[in-house]
Each structure stands twice: as structure tokens, then as C-alpha cells.
Symmetry: C2
Subunit: 401 residues, 2 copies
């Protein structure tokens, strides 16, 4: 993550991240991303049945998951969840305050919030923070914005992809915060993506949904799902390309760029999971369907036993076979093969004669790839996760409310 | 756990546990439980799609899950899983060797195995172990048997319940090993229960299934499911009561006694989960159905965030609400209430004003009760688990194969 620009690289966007005192640490905790005109907008939100007020707000202003918006305001430090009616009023106030300062309507502003839950937002600080961030628009490093949405993340996360649509340069850029949690809160994943592509809201919604499926929804740090997860994308339309719809020839190219940005952010989130020392990619292929591949891959990626084994650099194929077998996806032991890195360690129901030492050495790296071939069909999915370390326990047990 | 008798208290049973060198530690690793006649027998086995050869063997000899048997042989140290055709031959050999020495047929002997997987059993040692155990029948403490089936369990686990069926004294006793794992193995739960009740195999099967649902199947240490899990019960019929069938008046009384034994063993397993410092009971009531209550309760019991919070004595209702909300069971935040111990900490969608200090003090004990009332129906379920500690990581990461 450099200090260079990223989310303001697509034409038409300004952004700022400031500190307004919500975080006790005094770190940055308020971010605004603003577009100079009505942008096409799309969101994908948490599947948790219990949701924070900002999620409710975003669903109200974009009931179909896509539409138009002018910007997004995100605070960290206190998450506006389980705060009753007041929570919804506060979310609306955040939208209103932001709208006022960038010349928009409240219902044109997306809202997200992450941090400690069950406490009302300190609205005095929030309002002053929004005012300060709005004032700083265009005068701040994009890195400040990526920083202002962090909770226990140890690194800022951003990604940029340049592509060409019908001869016009199109930029897609994004920031994200990961599954770091602050007790007594939950994992929260927030991502904001900007682009200057000219694209219909419906097509943008479709592209985001597809991108999220293979990226943010492929990440699992500990199987827990936040009440505040949101991925949002704003498209300013300044790139000058022919307007994309879902049936445009060039749609796929844009969707691929968006997927690439989301994928890079998702990998950064997994690698920065609480206490993580390495990124683990679990690919399942040969499943009956893609959905079955996803279920099987996530069963492995969520297995504490597997994640501990990788942490300890133990080439433990038994735990991988177990996690596949316990899932609801169809698995047949006598057809199953498992690779760790390049090494085949389990082949059609029996362990191979592999060098435990060399596989253990491979596991002792920043990124570990596990490939499971079920040989039952053509379904495939890659889940992203991290290892499970003592540090995870420390972060999540030793913090007292 | 005392050194007194337990599984040989029901009339007609002998048992022995010896060391035969499968465990490198030299600890006991071979157990036989034998009945002096054909006993009614029932088993419940793992739901994992990948199963060890002993599970395949037991399903072969009791294809309906109940029938007749003379005894059970259990080894620890090396688990006979993912060992191909040789594995099944070895399981049959264990049954045969045991049968020969107690005057039975191979297909009358249940087999179970736990320990490192993917390695063939050292059959020389196994045979000598079976011979030694058979020789020791009736001359060993029952505690030796409970010890011989342990892996990373820190305590032997046993339970006895006395009841009266139609004026006849009936004893139900059991031993279990828990979800301690030996890398590169998996959690394995094995339980053997003996009783002298006179009962039909079908009724015994029904009673075991019911007992397991609320006990062993309610336990979750880390959501991982073994390839070798088995609960077995043998009924000698020496108690002299009128033969029980599923429609007998007294059937419920027997079923309750069996449930009590299984429940006590299950709680002992949860409390002795790897790295556990406390037993956690998560009760969900007011769910739409019992099945939904089970899904919701297990979602909480499997949440690493929740388990870390309990480990750290943090009264973190947010993580409980999150885990309920992410489950597939129907949950409505505005109806939900959560109690930790006696303290209402979340009521119909909002946190209460509770003393964090006193709840934190309550959490700092050997047993923690969490009760979630969904207020959507009459379904209820209690899941059993333990806290998640650094020790879990140490046990499962630092052991190298």
C-alpha cells in the first residue's frame, strides 16, 4: 500500500479521511468519498439477519441493490448496530450532513460504520468529523481514507486496475477494511470501489454481485459474519466510453476489472486476518457444481484444525480430507486427491509417499495454496483464509469491554 | 472419575485396558469390553462422508444400526482411517482376534480406532494387545479401559446411572473419549455404554439415537467432525426386567437413564476439549423448531469470536447476536433476548444496563450458561462446547508430524 492516489484516480472523485475522536486512539476514523455528479451505484450487503442501521439505510436508498448516488460516508471506532430507532436516525443524519456539504440529497449518500457495537454514535464528534472531511476533500492523500476505515487491520488495503473500454481508458480503484475485529464487536468487511466507467446502474449491480462472489464472499477468517458488511461501487461515467449495459460487448471487460480489484482487496483482507501470519488459498475443483465446490472449500478454510496445522507448517492431509468429508458437498474418498503447493500428498483415497520436510518448508511461507480435486464434476471455487494463531486468541479474548 | 467400577457394573460384562505399544508413550492403548452372552447392540456413527475402516466394519455387522453383538474392541494411538483395503482387513482381524479369545464370532465384535490417521495399524502389536486384554478380562480396573481409549484427553470419562424397571434394578454405565486430537489426526469421539437391561435391539437403537441427539451430537469443540466417531451400547439382558420394546410403558425410563449417561459423558467431553478451561452450555429456546434451535445454538457454540470472548470473560452479547443472526435459523433482532447466567444482557433488540463487572466475574468459572430466547416458537436445543484458548492452538499447530 503506497501513499499514491487510488480511489481518486477514476475521474470525478474526491476523498478524505480525518480523525474526529470516535477512536479513543486518536487515529483517523471518518472518511468521505464524493463524486462530482450522480454516479451509477451498486451495493452488496451482509447476509446476517441482524444488521446495523447503516445497512438498513443503504438498502432503503438502493432497494434493488443498484441505482444512483453521489457519495459514501464511513466511520470507524463505533459501529451503529443494535442501537434501536436512534441508530437509524443517526445513519440518516450522517447521510444528511455529508449531503449538505457536497451539495447532494441525503438519499444520495451511502453510509457504513464499523467498530464497537451496541453503543450510540457520538454524534457531536461525527458531525464535526464529517465537516472536517468534507473540507479536506481533494486535499488529502487517499491513504488517509483507507486508514480512516480501519479497525484492527494492521495494514491499509487498496487496489487499482486500468483497462480500456472501446478505446477509452477506464480506471477501477478500491479500498477495503478487513476482518479485524474490535471487541466487543464483530468482523466487519467494508469496501468502497470507484470507477469512471460509463455504465448503467443495473449492469454495475450485476458486475458487483459477480465480483463479490469470487472475492469478498470467498474470504473467511473465522466463519463469523458481520452485521455491517458492505461492498459498494460508484461509477462516475467520466471515462467517455459507450454506456455499458449487461448485454454490451465490453461489459465482460469491465466486470473482469472490477473482479480483479475486489479479488486483490479480498486477498489483502484474508492475509491480514486477526493474528494471521499467512494467506491460505483453498481451491476445490471437480465438485458436482460450483456451489458444492464453494461449500467444500469453505469447510476446509473454516476448519480450526486445518488452520492450526498450516500455522504449525504441518502437512496434515488428514484434516483437509476430514473437512471436505464433513461438508454438505458430495465427496468420495476414493476419488479425492489433495495437493499442497506442487506436491500431491493424497491420491484417490490414500496418502502418497511425499517428503514431509519439503512440504513443511513450503508451508512456512506467506502464501499457501491447497488444491483438492474431488473428481465428481466440473464445479470449482477458491476460498481465501489465513492461519489460526495464538495472536487471534489474544486479540479476541484479552480485550475487555 | 474414580477408580471404581463403572462399565462392568451392569451384570454380564467384563472389560480390560492394556498397553501394547501402539502409543509411543507406552500408555494403555487397547481395550476390550465383553458380554457373557449375545447382547442387544446399537450404534450411532459419524456423519462424515469419509470414514475409517472400523466404522465401515461396524456398519457391515449392524446395517440397521442395531442387532446383536458380544463385545467391542477399541485401540488408540493409530486410527485405522484412509488405509485402503488393508484397513478393512485389519479391522476384521481385530474383530476376529477378539472373538477367538472370548468365544464369539468376528461379526459379533464392534471395532473402534482413534489416533494418528493414514498409517496402517501395527498388527503385531495389535494382536498381542488383544491377547493381553482378553487375558486380563475381569482382573483389571475399569479405569484402565477408560484410559486405554484416550488420545489427547486430559481426564478419563465415565458415568453410571442406576434405575429401576418394573421393580428390577437396571444399571447403565459408559465410558468415552473426547475431542482431543493427535496430529495428524482429527477429533474423535468414541463412547461405549453397557447395560444389563432386557431390551429389544430395535428399542435399544431408538433409545441410543435419541440419547445421542441431545448429548454427543450436541457437543462441538471446533466444528470439526471426525471420520471415526462412534457411540455404541450393549445390553446384556441380565437385569431380569420384562423385555422392553419401544412401545413398553417402561421404555421411557430406560431411555432417560441412557440419555443421562450419554449427557454426562458429553459434558465431560466438552469440558475437556483441547485447551478448554471451561464448559459452555448454549441454550436456544423459542426457535421455530427444535432443528432450528439446534442450528442456532451450534452457530453460537462454534463461533471462534464467541468462544474467545468467554475465554477472556468478556460479556460480549454482540458476538452472540451475530452468531445467531448468521445461522440459517430464523432470528429477529427485535424479539431476541440473551442471558448470561442469570443476567439479562440483551432484551428485544437492545442491550440492557447490566453490570459488566459482575457478568465478567460469572464468566470466570468452570461452567458458563448462555440462554438465547428467539421468541418465534417452541423449538429448543442446548449445545455443549468449551472456550477457545491459546492452548488449543499449541496442541494443534505445534505438534509436527
Amino acid at each position: 500500500m503506497s501513499n499514491l492516489r487510488h480511489i481518486t484516480l477514476p475521474k470525478g472523485f474526491q476523498a478524505a479521511g480525518v480523525a474526529c475522536g470516535i477512536k479513543a486512539s486518536g487515529n483517523r476514523d471518518m472518511a468521505i468519498i464524493a463524486c462530482d455528479r450522480q454516479a451509477s451505484a451498486a451495493i452488496v450487503t451482509t447476509r446476517n439477519q441482524i444488521v446495523g442501521a447503516p445497512i438498513t439505510w443503504c438498502r432503503q436508498i438502493l432497494p434493488r441493490g443498484f441505482g444512483k448516488a453521489r457519495g459514501m460516508v464511513i466511520n470507524a471506532g463505533v459501529s451503529n448496530v443494535c442501537t434501536g430507532k436512534r441508530g437509524l436516525v443517526d445513519a440518516r443524519t450522517m447521510a444528511g450532513e455529508t449531503a449538505k456539504r457536497i451539495g447532494a440529497e441525503p438519499q444520495q449518500i451511502l453510509v457504513a460504520s464499523t467498530g464497537v457495537i451496541g453503543h450510540p454514535l457520538p454524534m457531536g464528534k461525527v458531525k464535526r468529523g464529517i465537516a472536517a472531511a468534507a473540507k479536506a476533500l481533494g486535499r488529502r492523500r487517499d491513504a488517509d481514507v483507507a486508514e480512516a476505515i480501519m479497525t484492527t487491520d494492521t495494514r491499509r488495503k487498496s487496489a487499482v486496475v486500468f483497462t480500456s473500454i472501446g478505446g477509452k481508458k477506464v480506471t477501477v480503484a478500491g479500498i477495503a477494511k478487513g476482518s479485524g475485529m474490535i471487541a466487543p464487536s464483530m468482523a466487519t468487511m467494508i469496501s468502497a470501489v470507484t470507477t469512471d466507467a460509463v455504465i448503467s446502474p443495473a449492469a454495475l449491480g450485476k458486475a458487483l454481485k459477480a465480483a463479490v462472489g469470487g472475492s469478498f464472499n470467498a474470504v473467511t477468517v473465522d466463519s463469523d459474519t458481520s452485521t455491517s458488511d458492505i461492498a459498494a461501487v460508484l461509477a462516475s461515467g467520466h471515462a467517455g466510453n459507450d454506456r455499458l449495459t449487461a448485454s454490451s460487448k465490453q461489459y465482460r471487460k469491465f466486470a473482469a476489472a472490477l473482479s480483479e480489484v475486489c479479488g486483490e482487496l479480498a486477498r489483502a483482507i484474508a492475509a491480514d486476518g486477526e493474528g494471521a501470519t499467512k494467506l491460505i488459498r483453498v481451491e476445490v475443483k471437480g465438485a458436482r457444481t460450483d456451489r458444492q465446490a464453494e461449500i467444500a472449500a469453505k469447510s476446509v478454510a473454516n476448519s480450526p484444525l486445518f488452520k492450526c496445522a498450516v500455522h504449525g507448517c504441518d502437512p496434515n492431509w488428514g484434516r483437509i480430507a476430514m473437512a471436505l468429508g464433513k461438508s454438505e458437498a458430495k465427496v468420495a474418498a476414493d476419488k479425492l486427491s489433495i495437493r499442497i503447493g506442487e506436491t500431491l500428498i493424497f491420491n484417490r483415497g490414500a496418502p502418497t509417499k511425499f517428503s514431509a520436510k519439503s512440504v513443511s518448508k513450503y508451508l512456512d511461507s506467506d502464501q499457501v495454496d491447497v488444491v483438492c480435486d474431488l473428481r465428481l464434476g466440473k464445479g470449482r471455487f477458491t476460498a481465501l483464509t489465513c492461519d489460526l494463531s495464538r495472536e487471534y486468541i489474544t486479540i479476541n479474548a484479552d480485550y475487555h469491554t
